[in-house]
Structures are given as structure tokens and as C-alpha cells.
Amino acid sequence: MEQVRGTIDGINGPVVYVTGSKEFGMLQMVHVGREGLIGEVIGVQADSTIVQVYESTTGLTPGEEVVSTGMPMSATLGPGILGNIFDGIERPLRVLEAKSGAFLDRGQNTHAIDSARKWDVTVTAKVGDTVKPGDIIATVPETSLITHRVMVPDGVAGRVETAVPDGQYTVEEPLLSVRADNGTVHTVTMQSKWPIRTMRPVARRMPISRPLVTGQRVIDSLLPIAKGGTAAVPGGFGTGKTMTQHQLAKWCDADIIIYIGCGERGNEMTQVLEDFQKLVDPKSGKPLMDRTVLIANTSNMPVAAREASIYTGITLAEYYRDMGYHVAIMADSTSRWAEALREISGRLEEMPAEEGFPAYLASRLSGFYERAGYVKNRNGSEGSVSIIGAVSPQGGDFSEPVTQNTKRFVRCFWALDKELAYARHYPAINWLTSYSEYMDDLAEWYEENVSPQFLKTRAFIASLLQQESDLSEIVKLIGSDVLHDEQKLVLEVARVIRLGFLQQNAYHKSDTYVPLDKQYQMMEVIEHLYQAVREIVALSIPIGQVKDTGIFDEIIKMKYEVGNDELEKLGGYMERIDSLCAQIKADNRD
């Protein structure tokens, strides 16, 4: 096939205008100029083709050549992705470092995955088997945590004619040859390509039924997210978006984490890299990096690659989902992605909609979030992709277009609150303005796996927080002294919930991750405290007497005192509450 070639005519930031050929196809990947910078066709006009370039365009000259690859922008898929760190268009940063040192040079075309490395392959397909796209034909231990399942790529189906024996192979060596019904023979290797802007096909979507357990109390107990669900974490700067994302990436019970640092700080990516290599997975004791892929387009890296990074990330996620894994994507931050869209749209002189964002912002956002889901794969396995996207609203104002449009496409909204962050209440998720639509879908799971009483206890906690918010309006106006004891009790217990339950210390060894059982039992202790003290208040005994015993503060500190493997200690708190209350009652009878 003859390659399509054109020449550069105009340059404006990352946007390059190409003339000389009318054959360029939309969304094709092209090489631009002498250095072969990677770009993508984003518009075709009568007299010129518009290309966005994923690298700095400084020094490009009109007249330089632009060559089409004839393929859409694609991600390379195969073993070697996990534990790696890539830029926005899937170039491995470790390889780039070896080539160009501490600073990034442009025009470095490298393989996404190491093509020299030999993998231990166990071939599961046999000669004579009939295979279709998505079928698993071999397995490879990719990391200590994850077995890579090699799948038949799209466009290949038929009878297996030859299969190699188990052994060591590179990603480019053939494993199978497959003869299709029409007689053509395809070779299957471990490596395949997939266009990043197209969703990978599945057999069918399944209903949401299992939570993504995160070990964070305010999330798991009050505002849960499901496997295959979507959540948005909006918050102004300094409210802990990144911290929340890091906590989820560390502790959530997904099999694989794809962490997309989209237009954020370089030091944060370094921190994730360092932390995840040191931290171990609580279940297996292996380094967390073995289940993690990082995609880094820091805020000073080329803006067009920022736009692509989100799609690269979700394509990798879908690939592992197809193998039957539960994958969670952390995208920090989707606002930077939207701003990249805006920047490129501005350079194209498109008509802007709200706040300069292009009119297609909403459809792009929905296209991204809709790639999440809990699915039945074509090979019969089940897998899921969950998306947790941080949103950085300008000025912390949630009415701006990115937050508002994101809200339409996610079912879980964890609003980070400046006031809470200022008081160093972390995670600063505001329990009143946040919501999760997944609780109903997950109710059955919680009742079966945690406790049949779970929903009741959760409702108690939620209602107490609601009552506190109502009462605090009064307190703000006239002070807390005028409240009667029943109301004061609500305030006291709500304080216990806020400080002792919702607030969670990411740096404390037993508080950074809390299993569901412990979360539930802590809620039970708090409910018991409320009921027991209410009996006392009902006897017209002043609540001050209970406060003086220090029991409220004792309960607040239980999160630090009770380790995650000593839940029986929580029973001790129940007894302590009972005996104290009995004591107070007895004292007042005399």
C-alpha cells in the first residue's frame, strides 16, 4: 500500500495544518516532520488536513513532510504493561530516561512493551480447537500478582492449525496459527493493537451487584461505589483529591489499578512510583506496583498527549477486564483533560460553548465514563472497569461546566469540602452534599456479606448526621446552651461520628485501611452509645454527667486503639458503655 504523504503548511501550538494530499483519514496516526513526531488527524478540510501533535512543535518548518501510518491511534497490548509507567501515548518513561536522560526529548519513538524480553508461556489452546476473538489461548505470569491471559485478537477466528509448545517466547514470536473458514491463515502473538478511542467489545453488560471495597469508612459505609461503577471526586485545590485517589489506588480491592496522572504534578507521580514499590498488597504481601500501571502526562508535558492519556488508560483497563479482572481507573484530573480539549479547540478556532469549552465536552465525557461497567466477556469470564475521576473545578465552584457535565454521567459523587479540609478533616468528603446511587444495587451484597443489620445501622448514622446539620443552624444563631438534652445528645454523638468514624488518618497503620466488618462494628458501637445514653437522658439525668466520664472521647479514639485483627476489642466498648450507664443510673437513684 502506498503511504499517504503531505507537507506542513501552517503551525499554531500543537496544531499543524498539512497540504499536498487529500487522502488522510480522520483519526489516523501520522508522523510529522524530520523527527517523526507523533500526531493524529483531527480534521480534514477542503484545502488542508489538521493534525494535533503529541509533542512540542518548536522548530517545525513549513515544507517538512507528514506521513500517515494508515492506522488509527492505537495502544499496544501484551504482557509487560503492569508495573510500568508510560506517557500519554504509551511510551515507557523508563526507556525514554535511558535514551535521553532526566529531561524528556521529543521524537523518541519506542516500543510500548519490551520486545526482547522472553516470557514463560503456557499455551492452553490445542491444535484442532476452534477459536474466536477474545478466547484465551495462553497464560503468562506477568507479575507476582497477575497472570496475563493471552487472547485471540479481533479479526482472527477459525481452527488452530499449529501451536507452539510451552516455553519462553517474546511478545512478537508466533504462538498459534489459525485457519479461518475462508482459508486465510493468521498467526497469533502475545502482542496486539487496539484503537484507543474505540471501546473493546464485550458479550454483554451485567447488572451492578458488588461493591468496590476501599477500606475508607465514609465511602464503604455511607457512599459506596460498585465494581463497574463510576465516581467523581470534585474539589478545589488543597481539598485532598489526589490524596483520596492515592488511598483508593492503594487499598481498593480491584485486581488491577490504572492510575492516570493527567496534567498534574511531576512530584506526585514520583511519589506514587516510590510508594507503590514499597507498599505491599494486604492480601498477598506482594508490592502494589505489581498490579498497577501508571500513565503520566504531568502538567508541563505536551497538552495534546494529555487529551490522549485518558483514552490510553481506559484501553489498557478494558484489555485486562477482557481477561476477567476487576480493574479500577483513577483519573487525576479529568478537568485537565477537558482543558486540553479546550486549548486545542481554541487553536482550531471552533465556536466555544460555556466558559470557552467546546460544545462537544459533554459527549466526550459521557463517552469516557460509559466505558466503565461490569461485563460478561466474550470468553465467558466476568470483569469490570470502575472509573474514579477527580475534577478540579476552577475556584472550587461546582457549577462550572466540567463538574456539572461529569455529574450527569457518574452515579457516585464525592464532593470534597474546603471547610473540612481547612479543619484538616480528611478525607474531606462532605457527607451532606455527596451521594451514591449504588446503595440500592448493593444492599443485598452488604446484607449477605457484612450483616443483615448493615443498612439499618447505616441509616441511623446518616440520619444522625442529618439531624446535626439541622440543629447546627440553630446553634449558629443562639448557641448550644438552649438545646435540650436530647438534642445535645444528637450533637455529641454526631461529633463522635465525625471525628471517630468519618475522619480517617491515612498515615496511621491501622486506620489507613479498615475492613468492612470493623466499619460495621464501629457503627454498631456508636449506635449503642446513642441508645444507652438516650435512656439516661429520658430519666432526666443531665447529659453532662455522661460527658464527664469521658466516654465520648474514648469512643472517638477507638479507631486507633483497635487493630484491624482485634475486632473482639470492640465488644469491650459495648460493655464499657453499659457499665458506665448502669453506674450513672445507680448514682442518680441514691
Binding site: D9, G236, G263, R265, A423
Partner: protein, 461 residues
């Protein structure tokens, strides 16, 4: 010999348009001769044989016929050698101290190149500034970018100078240290104040100054921070020095960017600033850090004035999203005569968590700072309650908080312009103040630490 182009097609503010140009490279530097003077500019858009050039000096006296333009074929390069220490340059990097040109060891592209995230070294070394509010509550870490958000009339310059004078890296041998100072659109007096202060504290021979004052060309303002950061990177990564970069005033820089964007006819986003303001600011701020091939570091303290004290204005807002925290100065404290008037609640240092505590400062530091924040946040609530119901109606506990709040502002936040407190003094002072509150209020502190440090006045030590 390179081709020279006679004349221009259009002049619009700092932008000029040339036609019939062949082989112009995007973002290359051009030299425009008018009369006997040479001005420099940069190609910002190419369309066919038409190029748009942004002129860094002003365009006065230029006409469509009196100019001769030459393409240099390279981006803006800064000549560098170790001699730049102690020298003063204009906003585009030419010496203005009358000491002549420098003899360069190397030329560097002032736009720099992004640091590969995996080549970064995660910053962990505590820098003691001797200012309690900063050391105790939002610790500065080597390689961090920590801006000062100020307002007109607040003492941000005095604070920056105090940091420069007192900054000390803990627990290590003397390492080479220098300051790169970039002024964008600041008043002559302010530049003078910095120069005088550097002189008085005897650091002038370790300072590199880049000055674009408020009456200097606007377009040159775009180059100033880039030239300064290029010099800083050169000293840090080639000569392994620890560099503190002060960029003031970022607001003037952003306004220059807006001015040029609007004369280019670009589609504006919030408040008329260009849509790429975030990426542009990031290309400056992200040049702070440490890399694994050098022992040097670049620490940035950008100063910006919040227009109308509004922290949600696009400039502070976007800055806060890129930098690793912020130190916010508050007018209310300033009016009460407290120096430095650091507004504690909105201020933050994102890197402090990994640079404090046992092995770095002292084991009680994380809990102590968290507790001071929580207590002071509560003081604010009590104050708003008191403003409604009056101080007399407050509960005893609330009154204790009010007393704590007052003492905290005067003794902990407030300190002298020459007062240099060690981290131990700062932490001890923090405990002294917390001891004004009842023990059960201190829910952020590990009970073991309470045992060791909590000493209420009415309880024997």
C-alpha cells in the same frame, strides 16, 4: 548567509506579521533591525508563507517599510556560566549591571524540557525558615514550589526576604546555596528593596537577578521567568547547587500573557485569560524539583498578588492547582499588626507530610500541626458564634478557645522580622499554646505524645 526580509505586512501591539517567509521554524527567534537598533522577537504562528512574530521589546518607531528582519534559526538561548552568580540581567537575560557580557560555558534553550517523572527525586529535606507558622504548619521542603498569595499592601516582600535570609537545610553539611531572583513587572522600589536586603544580609554575591520592571516591555515579561529558571536549572543540575528561585509578581506575568493573547485574537476563557494559562503556568512551576543525576535542587517561591484579595481569581486558582501548597497572607491579621500575617486555614504545604516527624524534625510534629489547625479552625467558628450572641454568652470551653486563638495569633503566627526560631522552639511554643486547652479537646494527638508534651498550666509538670 541567512536571508533578510525587508518590511512588514502588519503591526498590532507587540505582534508583527511578515509575508513571503520561507523555511521559518515554529518558535524560532528573529532579529528585527529598526534604524540602528536590533530588537528580538519570536515566531508564534506560521501559516504558509505568512508568519506572526511577537516582539519582546516594544514596537514603537516600527513601520511597514523601515524594518529588516533576520531569522536566527534557533529558539531563545541563554548564555550560561558560573559567573552569572552576583550578576544582574534584564528580563531577557542581557547584563545590565555594566560589568560586560559573560563568557558562556554553554547555551541553554530558555523553554527548558520537561523532567521525566521517573528521573525525579521525591523531595523530603526540611528547610528551616525560622518562621514558626511556616516551619510548624506548612513546612517548606527542598525542591518544592510553594507560592505566597498576597494582596496589595501586604508584606509579601519582607516575608520572602526573611525566608531567603534565614533558610537553612537541617542536619547536613554546608552545601552550596544560591538565589535566583526574577522580577516581572514590579516597581523599581520593590526591586531595589530586594537588592538592598540581599546586600544587607551578605548574600548578594550568591544572587542572580533578572529584572523586568513595570515600565519595561510587556512581551519581555514572558521571557523573564523562563530565563531565570534556565539559570536556576543550570546552577542546580550542572553545578549541584541548591537554588531558591523567587518569582515576583506572577500576576503581572499572567496579565502580560493575556495582553499578548488578546492581540493575537485568541478565544479567551475565564476573565479574558487564554485557555492555555494552566499549561503555561505549569511549564514554569514544574521546573522546580530534584533529579536523580544531580545533588542540586530548585526550590521555587513564586509571589503573586490576588486581585481584590480574591483567592478564586484564575491566577491564584490555577497556581494552587499546580504548586505544592500555598502560603496565604490575610488582610485581617495585617490590620491587627501581626507579622507575618499568614492566614493559617487556607495555607497548606503538600510535601510536608513526608519531610517532618521522626528522623526529620521531631516525632510530635505531624500530630501537633494537625491539632493546631483543628483547634484554630474551631476558634473561627467560636468567633462567628460570638459575633452573633456576644462573648459573654459563650460556654467556658468556647472562651478557652477564644483565649487560645488570640495567643496563637500573637505568639505563634506573629514574630519579629529578624526573629529566627529553631524548629524545636517552634514546636515547644505550639505545645505551650495547646496546653491552654483541656486535654480531651486534643483528639488529633496520639495519647503517648500527649503524655510527653502536654503540660497544662494548672497541672504540675
Amino acid at each position: 548567509m541567512s536571508i533578510e526580509y525587508m518590511g512588514l505586512t502588519e503591526i498590532n501591539g507587540p505582534l508583527v506579521v511578515l509575508s513571503g517567509v520561507k523555511n521559518a521554524a515554529y518558535e524560532e527567534i528573529v532579529e528585527i533591525k529598526v534604524g540602528g537598533r536590533v530588537r528580538t522577537g519570536q515566531i508564534v504562528t506560521i501559516h504558509g508563507e505568512t508568519v506572526v512574530v511577537q516582539v519582546f521589546e516594544n514596537t514603537s518607531d516600527m513601520s511597514l517599510t523601515n524594518t529588516v528582519t533576520r531569522m536566527t534559526g534557533r529558539p531563545m538561548m541563554l548564555p550560561l556560566s558560573k559567573e552569572i552568580l552576583g550578576r544582574t540581567f534584564d528580563g531577557s537575560g542581557r547584563p545590565i549591571d555594566g560589568l560586560g557580557d559573560i563568557f558562556p560555558d554553554t547555551y541553554e534553550d530558555i523553554n527548558g524540557r520537561p523532567i521525566n517523572p521517573i528521573a525525579r527525586e521525591y523531595p523530603r529535606n526540611f528547610i528551616q525558615t525560622g518562621i514558626s507558622a511556616i516551619d510548624g504548619l506548612f513546612t517548606l521542603i527542598r525542591g518544592q514550589k510553594l507560592p505566597i498569595f498576597s494582596g496589595n499592601g501586604l508584606p509579601q516582600d519582607a516575608l520572602a526576604v526573611q525566608i531567603v535570609r534565614q533558610a537553612k537545610i537541617m542536619g547536613e553539611k554546608e552545601e552550596p546555596f544560591a538565589v535566583v531572583f526574577a522580577a516581572m513587572g514590579v516597581k523599581n522600589d520593590v526591586a531595589d528593596f530586594f537588592r538592598r536586603s540581599f546586600e544587607e544580609s551578605g548574600v548578594l554575591d550568591r544572587v542572580v537577578m533578572f529584572l523586568n520592571l513595570s515600565n519595561d516591555p510587556v512581551a519581555e515579561r514572558i521571557l523573564t521567568p523562563r530565563a531565570a529558571l534556565t539559570a536556576a536549572e543550570y546552577l542546580a543540575y550542572t553545578h549541584n547547587m541548591h537554588i531558591l528561585v523567587i518569582l515576583t509578581d506572577m500576576t503581572a506575568y499572567c496579565e502580560a500573557l493575556r495582553e499578548i493573547s488578546s492581540s493575537k485574537g485568541e478565544i479567551p476563557s475565564r476573565k479574558g485569560f487564554p485557555g492555555y494559562l494552566y499549561s503555561d503556568l505549569a511549564s514554569l512551576y514544574e521546573r522546580a524539583g530534584m533529579i536523580n543525576t544531580s545533588s542540586g535542587s530548585v526550590t521555587q517561591i513564586p509571589i503573586l498578588s490576588m486581585p481584590n484579595d480574591d483567592i478564586t481569581h484564575p491566577i491564584p486558582d490555577l497556581t494552587g492547582y499546580i504548586t505544592e501548597g500555598q502560603i496565604v497572607l490575610g488582610r485581617a491579621l495585617d490590620l491587627r499588626g501581626i507579622y507575618p500575617p499568614i492566614d493559617v486555614l487556607p495555607s497548606l504545604s503538600r510535601l510536608m507530610k513526608d519531610g517532618i516527624g521522626e528522623g526529620f524534625t521531631r516525632e510530635d510534629h505531624p500530630d501537633l500541626s494537625s491539632q493546631l489547625f483543628a483547634a484554630y479552625a474551631n476558634v473561627e467558628q467560636v468567633r462567628s458564634l460570638a459575633s452573633v450572641i456576644g462573648e459573654d454568652e459563650l460556654s467556658d470551653l468556647d472562651k478557652q478557645y477564644l483565649a487560645f486563638g488570640k495567643a496563637f495569633e500573637q505568639q505563634f503566627i506573629g514574630q519579629g522580622k529578624d526573629e529566627n526560631r529553631s524548629i524545636t522552639q517552634t514546636l515547644d511554643l505550639g505545645w505551650q499554646l495547646l496546653s491552654m486547652l483541656p486535654r480531651e479537646e486534643l483528639d488529633r494527638v496520639d495519647p503517648k505524645l500527649l503524655e510527653k508534651y502536654y503540660r497544662p498550666a494548672n497541672e504540675p509538670a
